[in-house]
């Protein structure tokens, strides 16, 4: 049976097609300003690419910030928390904790070691510091492509300290360092340490233990993983397709909840 999981995030929308619980296809695009349009477009695209029609799909679940926006297309919704927990288990069945850093929010999820169900979670406060958006703003301030930010940070031997917890003030701090002639790689490393400290405080609040999966689009950035590992003094597991974990989880839950019809 085919199932589809669509994760409509604030910055990117990800879609996964699964067959009998195995990944068949993955697609993503910027969410832009119309969740309904992007979700629908990606759904039709993935069907077309795989020579399928809507009738071939057993169950469709949406998750993410825009999960309610495509209710005409989907059978049901699931929150990012449950979807990421399930998606992380697909790659690491024994996972006990999850750190997900997405475009607009970051979350830490604690799983019950016996039942693998979610027992607690923590999300960032009403602030973009500690999210992918923070890194985007900082990359803009340094005038480098976001894709290069992580590798640049890894070249640093003397990271600066970014002390502001507010994205806007941190941007001013970065510009200040830049104006003083501080090397870009040292500023980039400071930015990564700053995001790591922010997320680490959330991790410590709910006390998750290894094995911990690090996912979300930001997990593609190797410098964030290293900064987080240094801050938390533990190892993080980054799965294949970290940005698709929510969509994969949604597709898996769609399969598990399918009972002779879409539910």
């Amino acid at each position: 049976m085919y199932t589809v999981g669509i994760d409509i995030g604030s910055l990117a929308t990800k879609i996964v097609l699964m067959k009998d619980g195995k990944i068949k296809a993955l697609l993503e695009n910027r969410s832009l300003h119309n969740f309904t349009a992007i979700g629908t477009q990606l759904f039709h695209q993935i069907l077309k690419d795989n020579n399928l029609t809507s009738d071939d799909i057993g169950n469709i679940y949406s998750t993410g910030y825009g999960r309610h926006s495509i209710s005409k297309l989907t059978s049901n919704i699931i929150t990012e928390i449950s979807a990421h927990a399930r998606g992380a288990q697909y790659f690491y069945p024994k996972v006990q904790g999850i750190i997900d850093i997405g475009g607009q929010d970051s979350k830490v999820i604690k799983l019950n070691p016996k039942s693998s169900t979610v027992i607690d979670f923590q999300m960032n406060d009403k602030c973009a510091a500690g999210t992918g958006r923070f890194l985007e703003v900082m990359a803009d301030a340094l005038d480098i492509p976001i894709e290069n930010l992580g590798n640049l940070a890894l070249q640093s031997k003397s990271p600066v300290q970014i002390s502001s917890t507010c994205t806007v003030f941190a941007e001013s701090e970065v510009i200040g360092h830049f104006a003083q002639g501080t090397a870009k790689q040292d500023i980039a490393a400071g930015i990564h340490n700053s995001i790591a400290k922010r997320v680490a405080s959330m991790v410590k609040r709910i006390q998750i233990v290894e094995p911990i999966v690090f996912c979300g689009g930001v997990a593609l950035n190797p410098a964030v993983k290293i900064a987080l590992e240094n801050e938390l003094k533990l190892k993080l597991l980054v799965p294949k397709y970290p940005q698709y974990i929510g969509a994969i989880g949604a597709a898996l839950i769609a399969k598990e909840r399918f009972k002779n019809g879409r539910v």
């Binding site: 119309n34 969740f35 349009a37 910030y65 825009g66 309610h68 919704i77 699931i78 929150t79 928390i81």
Partner: protein, 429 residues
Amino acid sequence: MNTTNTSTPSTRKIVRMLKSSKKISKLIPWYMLKAKINEYIPWKKSAWITSSLPVELLWGFDIFPLHPENNACVSGARKVSLDLIEYAESLGFCRDVCSYMKTNVGAYDKKISIKMGGIAKPDFVVTAGTICDTHVKWFQTQARRMNVPIYVFDVPHIVNHTSESTKKRYKDYVISQIYDFFDFMEDTIGKKMNEKKMLKTWENSRSLSDLWQKIYEYRKKIPTPVGYADTLGDIFPLVLLPGIKKGIKYFEDLLKEVEDYVALGKGILPKEEEKYRLMFEGIPMWYRIKFFHQLMNYGAIVTYEPYTFSFGPSRPYVDNLEDGLKVMADRMMYQPYIYNLSDRIAYFKDIIENYQIDGVLLHENMSCRPSCTGMYDLKQKIQQDLGIPVLLFTCDMNDPRAYAEEQMQTRIESFIEVLEQSKSKRLNS
């Protein structure tokens, strides 16, 4: 086709509450009218008072009580608090200062109508730092700005290992201050304490609290016959009318309806729809009361709030001033919000068990340090010892800028999913 970028689903529009609770819409205007009349009669005296102090202290002297916190809630619920808060911030009060205080500063200065939370100038103000240290500075500031006298009670806090002999000395200290307050009333306001009137006030107050206790007892029933939509309004008589007869009739009608509900096995939600019974700790977000109604869309209903319970503690019958003052001093000293952590945890465990609570919501209130201190310890302890889910979320009681709609929606939906898993696991085991 829906093209709005939102994570918020459509919600239930019907607010489920008891018919008797709706009568609050008559009781509050009655109080407001009395307040308005009081304002224009020169020989009638009024005072501002804060939570944690017994309002009977004022009714016993025939002083009309005005309650800035209560009026601030009205401004919040009427969606005008932000304007008032921003006004206060323009005067220099900072973002982190209590949003009730800033609402009060704005409401008083801008002379908004009492219906929107406006408040008149009092003849004096009386406060204490018992549950909130800001109360003292707030009233000190406003007393200076309005040029009225102030009386401040100094109520010692019971902490871990406070001995019985120390507690007794604390109590004597508080009682001595009540006598001092009587002198203040005579010297400053020109009103003498009348023992007979004070005893009558205490008796009315006791009747009101007894009814509240009985109503609360019925919240243990499944399905619960009283929800948060009820108690949010029902606390009004406990905040402002303890000591007079007006609130008693309101509670008698409420209790009768609750008893009828229980006899018929009825609840605010039908039994089959009441899936999750929640405890809510903290001051509600007055500008976003809809939040609590929306919980019912998921079969979740708040069945216990330390906040509303604390306004009507049980108290013994007293027939003389000395005993009455002892009871009053006890009440001023022992309030859930000043419990030390171990007592607070014990209190929560007791409630969770007795009210068959499935999950706890903790409001980390950005501008109210006292009400959210210790919440992380509380959360961990409940999860560890009782194994039930706890959601701690950050908002503010009266400042809507602290409420992020989409983030809250995600938190609540996620919490419901956690509750579902937790409850089915508990039922299976």
